[in-house]
Symmetry: C2
Subunit: 413 residues, 2 copies
């Protein structure tokens, strides 16, 4: 890979050759993939992109750590829509708002970006089996992307994973181990199993290539905005890998001169599980927390990519905001009603955080903001129904309809 | 609309001016939108498309019945991926197979194509409210597309509609009436309510514009195949609107010379509810059937677009095939494992039908086939789980994992 220099430990700075099965530093730190930006600038311009017909995450190959000969994995990952959300912007009292619906990826979450990368790198590594632990979305996205590419998967999920994600896993033919315990325990068991059987490791905090896949969400946002940098990008944060990837993508674009400034990140966590935001707010090292939130994908008490995530929030002069489950579910409804976007609870936590910051007057009224929806609401239907209420249920006669409308004070005549 | 001539009744041939709120003929027949193909040929070529950056269903505006000034509705509908499914083709014993995953539309079904059209036409009609009855997908897609565009919706669903679809409806802010009865009773109540309150009618068999939206799936398939016509296109059939739309799109392309022959359609219905296929097989008029299938989206005992659908199957020298619920769920698993595509039961019924025809030797081994997946499996998780089984559930210790693998005869060491 002519454009990739090496993997460098974010803790101790030690560098490693960028082999396909790279994991963590001997010091335990996570690695960051370092690029040769001078070389990239010499081969990659905005015009290159203008003429490119590949509307997937792989349109940014010059900024992705794969060999030229590695084929694009089969599923169509990335290039999710960025909607201008004027009615929501008005409700929040800000000037310009965009919603990036990453729930429209093939397995319905942003995690497809990392899993597609895992598939590409597993192929380079000559692996036959890929494994991971996950609160659910990384799992189902790995299962789907791997199935399409012909890999076998072993996947570890905590037993609380919602049914939608489990149904995906089983349909994609993964061997699924549901661990009766926390995400932390699930992660540790997956690690032991991966060590024991030598499977290709798709744990996002271990495998440094995965946040390189995730960063494509930032590359797309910027290209879709015509390289006009927004003031803020709001996103939900659990393990820390996604916000770290988002930041990496923005820094890449800045480094090669595609954008001339960097936005501030808004890190939104659930109030019941916010170890990273707490560390920022108190300016202290992070400490584990319990996993008390219905936003299952970000219920991560021991964030595995804390270093990179904290660095991203700090470097961007980011804002942190914690939201209750009620605020999350209200945001789900709000996005549905104003944008026609149905996000899962963790998927809309960024929007919930943005709403809260707007209400607290912490976002300038003339700001341009992007809110990333990281997963589809169909993944967790039970919570949506619990919050949104049930339909009007009647027999099929006009009289029943009229009296049901009357009871609910729906006046139409 | 310079390129649209009129609406013409498929039963009696009477023509109607193509006003935005066009419904059915006075004789009760459904209308078909008739284009001025000569004019279209003069302004629309394959090269026009090559240079077009709009990758949504609206890239085919010259073939769509909307005014030039009508804006594209906000959600990104269409241009779903067409995957080459080599491993599945091999398993089915055919030469070339493509899977069109229409479950990746914004509200996760092909119905978004019709709902986006409804939104465009409702805007032309100056309407504020759109209403429909639906087994679920038309409903949730209308709710989402209308919410994004700022319309209010009244939506009638049979009480059996799966939870995923209901959750979407409620989140998108629709007023939902769940009718304790069949789809037929649901449809009749919606019709009475629409007549009474003058809402814009998004019932696909009533509003002739909707199959014009659906036809874009055919336009895309052909463009994605580089205008090389496949031998067969397999699709699930309920109300009949989707297969009618598919056929209309193919005929449009043939009429303007973009393709030089027409494929044969494969109409797949559930064995427990196959009034249209039965009519074809017995060469008799269709008769109502009970709605005995778990494939809820195609459980339509009284198909509302029977005329157009039967015409499409006959004109294309199509094949009909009925599949059991077990065959449908086996196809769901097969598509998941070989393609990484998770379709809802009705969504994979086309694939189930294709599999059955292959097993019966009715498809030539050198045939090229497209199978359309019409909806996402996340819409109906309960059935997927019931069929695919549960994960291996264990406490978080390696010993438990080893004995679980041992019990299941998974040998790794």
């Amino acid at each position: 890979m002519r454009h990739v220099k090496y993997g460098r430990c974010v803790k101790c700075g030690k560098t490693y050759e960028a082999v396909p099965d790279l994991t963590t530093c001997t010091c335990g730190g996570t690695l960051d993939i370092v690029y040769d930006y001078d070389y990239i600038q010499s081969i990659f311009t905005k015009d290159t992109l203008k003429n490119r017909q590949n509307f997937t995450m792989w349109r940014y190959r010059e900024l992705l750590p794969v060999e030229e000969t590695t084929p694009d994995p089969p599923l169509r990952v990335g290039w999710s829509p960025l909607y201008k959300a004027d009615r929501l912007a008005e409700q929040l009292g800000i000037s310009k708002l965009y919603v990036k619906d990453d729930g429209l990826n093939p397995t319905a979450s942003l995690k497809d970006r990392a899993s597609a990368m895992a598939v590409a790198k597993a192929r380079e590594a000559g692996a036959k089996v890929i494994a991971c632990s996950s609160t659910g979305n990384a799992a189902s996205s790995l299962a789907g992307n791997a199935a399409a590419a012909g890999f076998q998967t072993y996947i570890f999920v905590p037993s609380r994973a919602p049914k939608g994600k489990v149904a995906q896993l089983m349909t994609f033919g993964a061997t699924v181990i549901s661990v009766q315990g926390s995400y932390e325990e699930t992660f540790e068991l997956s690690k032991a199993a991966i060590d024991r059987w030598g499977w290709y490791n798709r744990n996002a905090a271990i495998n440094p290539y995965l946040s390189e896949g995730k960063k494509t969400v930032a590359l797309e946002i910027m290209e879709q905005l015509g390289w006009e940098v927004p003031d803020y990008i709001a996103i939900s944060v659990g393990d820390g890998c996604t916000i770290a990837g988002l930041w990496k993508g923005l820094k890449d674009l800045y480094a090669i001169g595609f954008i001339d400034r960097l936005p501030r990140l808004i890190s939104a966590q659930a109030a019941g599980c916010c170890p990273l935001n707490r560390a920022i707010a108190e300016n202290k090292p992070w400490h584990p927390m319990e996993e008390n939130t219905l936003a299952d994908s970000i219920a991560v008490g021991v964030p595995r990519n804390a270093d990179k995530a904290l660095m991203a929030i700090r470097e961007s002069h980011g804002l942190v905001v914690n939201v209750t489950d009620e605020e999350i579910m209200a945001a789900q409804k709000l996005l549905g009603r104003t944008c026609g976007v149905f996000g899962e609870p963790a998927g809309v936590t960024g929007a919930a955080g943005l709403k809260k910051l707007c209400e607290e007057g912490k976002i300038e009224k003339d700001a341009t903001v992007v809110s990333v929806v990281t997963g589809n609401g169909l993944k967790d239907v039970a919570n949506a129904i619990a919050f949104c209420g049930e339909p009007i249920s009647i027999p099929g006669r006009m009289d029943d309809l009229l009296s049901a409308f009357h009871q609910r004070q729906i006046h139409l005549d």
